[in-house]
Subunit: 342 residues, 2 copies
DNA sequence: TCCGCCAATGTAAACGTTTCAAACCTTCAT
DNA sequence: ATGAAGGTTTGAAACGTTTACATTGGCGGA
């Protein structure tokens, strides 16, 4: 009595069998309107609530998908999860969320939990998409999955991303076009993010193409927001870097703040560009110039892809979405540093 | 064969019974080391993975909790979910995530899904904590739940929040102390957020206490980031508002951007303050002055509370965490508007 | 030698669904 | 009157666990 009513209770109450009740729930069209009404009334009267776990046990599909992101503290991922969640909701799918905190070691544990939950499929943003045991496991177990933001080198893996290297290439090139010759990349640690490395590669290629030999790089821990010390050498040292290409918008915003702390103006003294296109970037001053990717749509798209794979569609497709440089004013023409006159 | 191995398979393989296998998994201490080794080996050999849904069906507890937030697009909520997720992970709990998109109508549907999943408990941020059918339902069904960011007027509901009214009061008072007499509140729509209304109440109280009769209010749709038009009247009209108290940091950042678009400087012409304390606020220029709340800790705390309730602890406690005004420079001393000289 | 005890293991009945095959009942043509 | 047809409904067997209870066997004490 005190316990939750089950289908059996509904059946008893409505004088019909448990099978009929099930049919009312799952295939209302297959049941006469009259019968359906009786059953529905009984369900309402008893406050019946189907126990999804019973169904999950019986059915092969669980209508559940697992999501793994590095963190929700970076709006890029939060927004993509928002997209996933929206699309999942629209399709009657339940989302189980996990995060790795950027720690590759934690990925396997998280995915294991997800698999124990018998999710129908997964959407993952991994630290490193290549040579990743998680990917191998999923492939071996033939669990549908889509990578988000990762660009694996294997072609038989579904992945949705922008061209990471090209994003950084474009940003660096834009700065070079404005006369900057001394550039540095501010990147998250490569071990925690293959995007970071790919973006650095693009940065290097841009400098090579422009005949600039000197490539500066500063790697910072993820979650770090104080870049005053890490950037001190580059900004105030003899290299006198005037262009900072940041591997994420969060880093770019932190970099702008650090420049300011060093008494440098953006974009007058230093140009700063980001990658990701988080919405807050468009609101700050100076408006952040960023290689924008359609984050939320990417999340939705990832779920759409995943649904395809779950439905049995074979040969996973990869999708490289276009990015574009936003017209922020955090980058400007090169000027000899006024402060050097002091 | 092609199907996933079950406990029965493991039992067969190890020459033991299914009950013993279960014991190895759940109460390894109750089983001789030798036996455990055999079973573990069999599990490894077969690539066995416990089916949590089988367990969930049998057990009363599901080790799953449901989370409902308005959106993940606002870092406040993303960060709190991050906190929840961390704490859940540390306690072996699975998190099911849903969002209402700020639409009160969608809350019931989301919670229904969660209940069908037989979650052990819920953490919710509701549009309106009072007279909410969702709350009534949860109370009636005796499902443990904790409200996050909401301040319900009933005392028998667990809720974790800062003092919303006081936050706004403090911010408005800070501006008044700096000489501002013409203030406006920029708030999200009250129907979508009781915090918004509570904060407005605090704003009004501060003005009353200072003997300022004229109270301006502009309500904007959630998700809206373009405040240029909505703020035009206040900033450029005859009222010449010089202080904007914003009900969220996201709004504050958007407001600063709008001021700039109107040719006004922050904080020289207009002071802008926010509430929430999202981390990006500390990085932008001018550094955002905000009534900071410990968002991530609030998420963790909420989960801790919830675990207590699930364990059977009766009489839910509310927790009102302290906030503090950050020392941002987005608010400054009142000055007669220079632009009015034109 | 027998008894009882204890540790180790096994048996089998749930948990709440879904679903296949079978049963039931009208209706209608023969 | 008989039977085929077809629309409704039902019975019962899973799905993969957990767990109360039963069984086993070895051992020490009487």
């Amino acid at each position: 009595m005190s316990s939750k009513p089950t289908m059996r209770d509904v059946a008893r109450k409505s004088g019909l069998s448990i099978a009929t009740v099930s049919r009312v729930i799952n295939f209302p069209a297959d049941v006469p309107a009259e019968t359906a009404k009786i059953v529905t009334a009984a369900m309402a009267y008893l406050n019946y609530r189907p126990n999804i776990n019973g169904r999950r046990l019986k059915m092969t599909q669980t209508s559940t998908i697992g999501v793994l992101v590095p963190t929700l503290a970076n709006p890029v991922f939060a927004t993509s999860v928002q997209g996933i969640e929206q699309e999942a909701n629209a399709n009657g799918l339940t989302v189980i969320l996990t995060s790795s905190e950027y720690d590759p070691e934690r990925e396997m544990g998280a995915v294991s939990t997800l698999l124990n939950n018998r999710v129908d499929g997964l959407i993952l943003t991994l630290a490193n998409a290549d040579n990743n045991p998680v990917v191998d496991l999923l492939l071996a177990e033939k669990i549908p999955f889509v990578l988000l933001f990762n660009q694996p080198s294997r072609a038989d893996i579904a992945a949705i991303s922008v061209d990471n290297a090209q994003s950084a290439y474009d940003m660096a090139t834009a700065m070079i076009a404005k006369g900057h010759r001394s550039l540095a990349m501010v990147a998250g640690q490569f071990e925690s993010s293959d995007r970071s490395r790919q973006r650095y590669d693009g940065f290097c290629r841009a400098l090579d193409d422009a005949g600039i030999a000197q490539k500066h790089l500063v790697q910072v821990r993820f979650g770090e927001t104080d870049l005053v010390a890490p950037l001190a050498d580059f900004l105030c040292g003899p290299e006198e870097v005037t262009g900072l290409v940041c591997s994420t918008d969060m880093l770019a915003i932190a970099a702008i703040s650090a420049c300011r702390a060093h008494g440098l103006s953006v974009p007058d003294d230093v140009s700063v560009g980001g990658i990701d296109g988080i919405s807050v970037g468009g609101l700050i001053t100076p408006k952040l110039c960023s290689a924008v990717q359609p984050t939320q749509e990417m999340g939705q798209q990832a779920l759409a892809f995943l649904r395809g794979l779950i439905k049995g569609q074979t040969n996973p497709q990869s999708l490289l979405l276009p990015h574009h440089l936003s017209d922020g004013d955090s980058i400007g023409d090169f000027r000899r540093r006024s402060s050097t006159l002091l």
